[in-house]
């Protein structure tokens, strides 16, 4: 049944949702992150991941990368709303570019039981070209970067190897048009 409501209901809103990564260039000024986050919460959009860093000290610019879910219509509305914010220079859906590159970084802390399993995990990590950044007694911290899918796969496979995932942190995707 098609919606007869003037307001989109959540069920309809997420039916054809797809993941999009938005790249937003902004003036680095107080409150800019609050403006963007407020826009998303106020209009009922989702933030799956968020990354903010100064990218140009001289011009005082930051790049904000947002991973969001929504139908195409919703995503274009998000872009239009973002571009209305005064400090925003541009907002781009990376998926709309002819070519773009995306990457994410993840740190994962594993606790293992014995030397043998440790070796197994190290070997496994090699397959993924991840690197051991810290090792202390029976704790290892791995660093892996790549697309979000690749990191998801790494983490899923890690479960099959043994060892306990103590905690992990992900940067959220960042990306560029090529």
């Amino acid at each position: 049944m098609s919606s007869t409501s003037v307001y989109p209901t959540p069920i309809n809103a997420f039916k054809q949702s797809k993941r999009s990564v938005l790249s937003v260039i902004v003036d680095n000024e107080p409150g800019i992150l609050a403006r963007i986050v407020g826009l998303f919460s106020g209009r009922g959009y989702n933030i799956e991941a968020l990354n903010v860093t100064v990218v140009d000290v001289k011009e005082n610019l930051s790049r904000i990368t947002i991973e969001t879910l929504g139908e195409e219509k919703v995503i274009s509305q998000i872009i239009a709303q973002l571009e209305k914010l005064v400090p925003v220079h541009s907002a781009t859906n990376l998926a709309n570019l002819s070519e773009s590159y995306e990457a994410e970084i993840c740190l994962v802390k594993i606790e293992f039981k014995n030397e043998e399993q440790d070796q197994k995990i190290l070997n496994f990590a090699d397959i993924y070209r991840s690197r051991t950044v810290q090792k202390r007694q029976n704790i290892v911290v791995y660093e892996i970067s790549g697309t979000s899918e690749r990191i998801n796969k790494f983490l899923d496979d890690l479960d099959t190897i043994g060892g306990i995932k103590v905690e992990l942190v992900r940067s959220g995707p960042i990306g560029l048009g090529i």
């Binding site: 007869t4 609050a34 219509k73 239009a80 209305k84 005064v86 541009s90």
Partner: protein, 590 residues
């Protein structure tokens, strides 16, 4: 050592306001703005209007802006001063009204300490302004103020707030004048200055091809300036295409012209809504497909090709998908359409749209605004009709509160010029009209300013009658008094089994005595025999007047598209019954 080229923050603010040609400011003093009030004390270019509550200041600034086309300015203190203007800022954001709000803040070193009258002003007002600032460095103050005015009035206009801590008001710096500021393009978002030639060509081609075209015109046309309205009139006259306007579009095209179908939407005219439903070409000029206008979206104008002119990119394809759009200013675009038609010698003589006008005239025969006026009790529709007839020769500005009276005013008062109609549409703010009338009268001292009110709305900002008295503003408050929150009562009757929960307003004041206690004038009409005399008396008195018009308590506002229904499912009178399926769905909507 003092440098004569340096000024305090408070003086810089005053210099910037003068530079921006601001001559009127609405405000209310308090601890965190005392240095600014001190600067106001020692000057004479700026007239300060002391309101009685900050909500009054912001609605007055809106009324001033809407009626003059200039930016409205207000000044409030920190904490409660600024939280009181949140409703008005939201109202201005929804209705695209350019205002600049200056607020005081506790001194910088106290920010974040929960100091007396401290609140997170920029945090609270971020979602209800187009942009806002906290100025921590006095050397940034001049450019911040000039940018604020530019942002408020550019592109799709809206409210901008500048929060100034008290120590910044005392601190000194150089003043940078407006002409010495170079604005950064990306921050101003003025919209494109070049007309999309292809859009123009497509539009003219489609007009030539269409059988059933319609113009659907909104508040954007108003905000583009008077010239937009003139270009629109030219285009309509050239093409003989029917035109309907939204609540905010009233006045962009003369309401009594033969091409006008009047207002569309929830309480719009039958012919306007039916024409929108059946048209094959819709030309949207600065309207935003609001839910009050579209009704049920999946049944909204199913067979039309849609063109949309709107300076706000986020209004395009938000609620309704359109076939062609342009983000260029309406005046520029309409001008180009007119000159394209002229320079290519395109005439529309062969396209009189005879069948289309024939159909529209059939719909007009329904006389959807018909009402039966008896010999005794005043019908609210009749009160507005008489008010219109008795004031139409004057240069009249009408403000309204929100509810049934507002819709009746939109239906029965006809506007022939833009900026004469000032109402709260998007947010629907009860208590808007009284202070808005104060603002409109300040901007237009020689005109007749009438607030068409309901008694419940009027009570929400009644304190501002004192402001009107103090500044000798002869505004007229025309109350359609039915002792109910009429629109709430109407919805309860239609959707909630006539269970009138809390919509009857008991213990109303005697509005005549109330007026006298404020040193205003009170007049009253209890029945039809007294109506015309009361209106004439009200208009003739050169002081603030409250006219208490006793109207039929049970009258409902028709025509009506109930929430959840489509344009062709209008109720024309109390005898029309709503489709029960729609009723259940409509109940959950607003």
């Amino acid at each position: 050592m003092t440098n004569e080229n340096e000024f305090t923050g408070a003086d810089i603010l005053l210099k910037a306001l003068k530079d921006q040609e601001v001559d009127t400011i609405f405000g209310y003093p308090g601890g965190a703005v005392l240095p600014i009030y001190d600067a106001i004390f020692g000057q004479n270019f700026l007239k300060h209007v002391l309101v009685r509550q900050e909500a009054g200041a912001v609605h007055a600034a809106e009324g001033y802006a809407r009626s003059s086309g200039k930016v409205g300015v207000l000044l409030v203190t920190s904490g409660p001063g600024v939280t009181n203007v949140v409703t008005g800022l939201t109202d201005a954001l929804m209705d695209s009204i350019p205002i600049v709000c200056i607020s005081g803040q506790v001194p910088s070193h106290l920010i974040g300490t929960d100091a007396f009258q401290e609140c997170d002003t920029t945090g609270i007002t971020r979602p209800c302004t187009k942009h806002n600032y906290l100025v921590k460095d006095v050397s940034k103050l001049s450019e911040t103020i000039h940018e604020a005015f530019k942002i408020a009035s550019s592109g799709r206009p809206g409210p901008v707030l500048i929060d100034i801590p008290k120590d910044v008001q005392f601190a000194k710096s150089k003043y940078i004048s407006k002409k010495d500021i170079s604005f950064r393009e990306h921050r101003i978002k003025a919209g494109s200055k070049t007309v999309d030639k292809n859009f123009v060509k497509e539009l003219v081609n489609h007009i030539k091809k269409s059988e059933r075209p319609i113009f659907y015109v909104g508040g954007g046309c108003l905000n583009s300036g008077h010239q937009a309205s003139q270009e629109l009139i030219k285009l309509v006259n050239k093409t003989n295409i029917p035109i309907t306007t939204t609540l905010h579009g009233l006045g962009c095209f003369p309401g009594e012209d033969k091409s006008s179908l009047g207002m569309l939407g929830m309480h719009g005219n039958y012919e306007a809504n039916l024409a929108m439903n059946k048209c094959d070409l819709m030309i949207n000029v600065g309207a935003r497909f609001d839910d009050r206008v579209t009704g049920r979206l999946d049944a909204f104008s199913p067979d039309s090709i849609k063109f949309h002119i709107d300076i706000d990119q986020s209004s395009i394809n938000k609620n309704v998908k359109v076939n062609f759009h342009t983000n260029t200013d309406i005046t520029l675009t309409l001008k180009e359409i007119n000159s394209f038609i002229d320079s290519n010698n395109i005439d529309f003589d062969d396209k009189d749209y005879d069948n289309w006008w024939g159909q529209i005239n059939e719909w007009r025969k329904k006389e959807c605004l018909h009402y039966e006026q008896g010999d005794e009790v005043i019908k609210p529709q009749h009160a507005i009709s008489r008010l219109y007839e008795l004031t139409k020769q004057k240069d009249t500005f009408v403000t309204t509160e929100v509810g049934q009276h507002q819709m009746w005013a939109a239906q029965y008062y006809k506007f022939s010029k833009p900026n004469r109609w000032i109402t709260s549409g998007g947010l629907g703010t009860m208590g808007f009209g009284m202070p808005a009338a104060v603002g409109a009268q300040m901007a237009n001292p020689d005109s007749l300013v009438i607030d068409i009110a309901g008694e419940a709305s009027f009570l929400m900002n009644i304190q501002e009658i004192a402001t009107a008295v103090q500044y000798k503003l002869p505004i007229k408050i025309f109350i359609l008094n039915n002792e109910y929150m009429g629109m709430v009562r109407q919805w309860q009757e239609l959707l909630h089994g006539s269970r009138y929960s809390e919509s009857y307003v008991d213990a109303l004041p005697d509005f005549k005595k109330l007026a006298e206690s404020f040193n205003a004038v009170g007049v009253r009409a209890k029945n039809i025999a007294e109506l015309d005399d009361t209106i004439n008396e009200m208009v003739s008195i050169d002081r603030p007047v409250i006219a208490d018009i006793w109207v039929d308590k049970k009258e409902n506002c028709f025509p009506m598209i109930p929430s959840g229904a489509a344009h062709h499912e209008m109720l024309l009178s109390k005898y029309d019954k709503e489709n029960p399926e729609n009723q259940e769905k409509g109940k959950v909507l607003v």
